[in-house]
């Protein structure tokens, strides 16, 4: 954890230097894959089962 960086640009630069592209790509692919799986979970069973949560959190859809 670099403690000397004091601007937002520095933080982004540090993150870019610390995380190598392959790791970033892997993380991105994982997130994309999970998101894709979640889209499939939009089938009636999962969607209806989360009904209370969506109402409770005030998220779109019905």
């Amino acid at each position: 954890m670099s403690t000397n960086s004091d601007t937002v640009a520095d933080r982004f630069a540090a993150a870019g230097a610390r995380i190598d592209p392959l790791t970033a790509l892997t993380a991105l692919a994982l997130v994309a894959a999970l998101g894709f799986a979640l889209l499939f979970l939009q089938d009636p069973l999962a969607h209806d089962a989360l009904h209370d949560f969506r109402h409770g959190a005030g998220i779109v859809c019905h």
């Binding site: 403690t3 089962a49 989360l50 409770g56 005030g58």
Partner: protein
């Protein structure tokens, strides 16, 4: 960065557990009751029978509440690490970031698409509402960033009062949007007071979720920031 992400996920898990419990004990029973009331006009059956039972819905929704907390917490941790230098407030930085998160993810979409009280019907299809929702999240992020940056800049050059004034301008614009925006929900047998109360409940529960994330995060973040001896890893108690 990874430390911050870890703190964020731990904080999100704790806040999510509380929120899941809230969903289970408060939101679910209330929603079922309201829906029962709303569908009472049409004899006794629900007009659209859900694919799963009410118990399963309650359990999965509570679990969804936990995951929601984890997701927000993870995003919170990364955003905190990246934007920490620009945040005002010293020790209160996590709370400022939680406020911007609440504004971005919840309040901004609600200005046009308010939380639906059970029994209400949306006027537009999901093909319009989902892009609108996502667009409003982007707008909320811009409003929050403008507010915070404006506050920092104005209070540096012109003092605290000017800073607060400048910070509130984008928020007022967002409030104006909610007044101007056309209604997106229709009907519902529920009286307006009940509907308003339900919306406040939703609003307060989301605000509470963000507050809990900020509280837990600032607790976990202290040892990381000091880079001191082995940080007490927060194992979220699985007691639900």
């Amino acid at each position: 960065m990874i430390d911050r992400l870890r703190s964020g996920v731990a904080a999100g898990a704790i806040a999510g557990l509380a929120y899941g419990l809230f969903t289970w004990l408060v939101a679910s029973p209330l929603i079922h009751h309201l829906e029962h009331l709303a569908s009472h006009g049409g004899d006794h059956g629900h007009d659209a029978a859900p694919a799963v039972g009410e118990t399963a819905t309650a359990v999965v929704s509570a679990g969804g509440g936990v995951l929601w907390g984890v997701l927000l917490g993870a995003a919170f941790g990364v955003a905190y690490h990246l934007f920490e230098p620009a945040l005002p407030g010293g020790a209160l930085k996590p709370y400022v970031l939680a406020g911007t998160g609440f504004l971005t993810v919840s309040v901004a979409p609600w200005t046009v698409l308010p939380p639906a009280t059970p029994g209400m019907e949306p006027l537009y299809g999901t093909s319009l509402r989902v892009p609108l929702y996502l667009g409003l999240i982007v707008l909320g992020g811009l409003v929050a960033a403008t507010s915070v940056l404006g506050h920092v800049r104005a209070s540096r050059t012109r003092g605290r009062g000017a800073g607060i004034l400048v910070a509130s301008l984008p928020l007022a614009a967002l409030g104006l949007l909610s007044v101007v925006a056309p209604p997106t929900l229709a009907g519902g047998g529920a009286p307006p007071e009940l509907s308003a109360a339900f919306r406040w409940l939703v609003g307060f529960s989301q605000a509470g979720l963000w507050t809990l994330i900020a509280v837990a995060f600032s607790r976990f973040d202290r040892p990381v920031g000091r880079r001191g001896a082995g940080s007490p890893t927060a194992t979220a108690r699985g007691a639900d």
